[in-house]
Amino acid sequence: MPKERSAPGGLGMLLLSLLSEQDRYGYEMIETLRNRSNHVFDLKAGTLYPLLHTLERQGWVMAYDEEAPGGRVRRYYRITDDGRKALGEQRTQWKNYAAAVEGVLEGGVLCGA
């Protein structure tokens, strides 16, 4: 798994972005990611949870248990202040990266021209 601190535009950034809107639980994150990306990001739970727990270890998200409809206790995740800061940085890095890729694909100024 790539380290989330060094990979711009990684899955970690996408999860932080979802959590920056509201607290969510695991299945909800997978479904939201799938629907918004038009099934491009079809994350398996076996990938999601190690990633979430890594983000938690880094202090970017925190987990808490809350009673869900039906009486079951469900684990929710919430972004922390450090997580919001990291998300802001990663968004900037991603935009710069995407702009650079776009510049190459669209054909920039030739060297020596």
Binding site: M1, Y25, Y27, K44, G46, Y49, P50, R74, R75
Partner: protein, 447 residues
Amino acid sequence: MAREMADYLDRVGARIRWPRARTYLLKELSGHLEDQRAALEAAGVPPEEAERRAVADMGDPEPVGDELNALHRPARSLAPAVFALAVSLAGAALIPALTGGSPLRYWAGLLLGLAAMALLRLVDLGTLARRMGKWAIPLAVALPFLLMALNYAAPRLSTGAAPMWLLYPSLFLPLLFALVLLALRGMHGGCLCALTPLMFLLTAPAALVPSFTTALFLGGTMLLTASAAVMAGWFRGKPWVGLVSLWAPTALCTAWAVQFLASSDRMRYFFHPELDPNGYGWQTLLIRNLLWEGSAEAAEVYNASFLYQDPGYTLLTLSAQLGRPVMLAALAGILLFAGLCLWRIWKLRSTTGKLLALSLFLPLFFQAGACWLQNAALFPFGSALPLPFFSYGPTSMVVDFTLLGLLLSVFRMDPLQRDGPSLPLPQLFPHLLESLLCPEDEEEEPF
């Protein structure tokens, strides 16, 4: 749970070595499987097919288990234990040799204490708190009465005081208070004034021994732990409301109690020891001459006095034998231990862990501080409890290592400790009373 899902969880769980992490993680994966299956069934997929697809969507169980295992190992925060052991071994080497006490008794206390610490380090206080829930409140009310009944029934010492062993259970009452705080999550901070009578009740067994010092530092522990809970957003409303609600009644009641102590002989002789040349004043003057003046004559008088073999004055005894730097070294040791523990508590991920840890650390710290201040003749009241981990006292050694073992268990469980949900307010606070005491805030709740 259906068979295919259970098989999947078993295969993941087989790769996770830490049993507590396995339980925690499989519960989360199980919840996810249930959510996935329910969503598929709601979309019209037959139950057996929904289960098969839910399991297939999880990914291969073995790599998942391996990744989760790598991320979830028990935290090793053994620095406080290593420090306490080093102090105990220093005590084992110095105290019996210098005071003529029994090394066997000292070593027996140390070994029992280490065994208690090693066992209790494996406890999961967070799960205990969750299971106890609101039952912590009636228990916190009943236990002090039980201890006071034991105090009443116990045979008295020649001084008329209750036996000192009755103090030791009191050192665990702040932990019980922390469990009450955990059960009251989400209560409005303005209602925290209702905890003042409980704090006084929990200090009453120590006060009745009598040990005003122990009662004072137990009360201080509870007040600081509750204040930490307020600052961590454990209760609703603005933090300053919670702090005022907590401190104001406690300060008023304490001030009322202290005014009686302020006019006592003990206080007078502390500030004017020359007025009591045969009792406490003499003792205070002796200690000050020994430590503050470095008087060799005072050291000789001390070595021949009843204080020499008193476990509460071990530091002073060592200072009389080895010199005044003993007190400075002890102070440095106390501050180092406090720094190690507070740094680790600060790093804990959950507020639950922090509150439990503070309720276990602060009694040790205040006990050490009170003992040091008493030995330095800087505190008017005696500390009935010896210096933690060091002084000649097998029972206190076992109790202090028990507290340390529980503290280490909180550190150990930190990777898995989470703050539970806000529980519905108990019916102990009728809605009308709460609405009178705790007006609604205009701001949104913090969680």
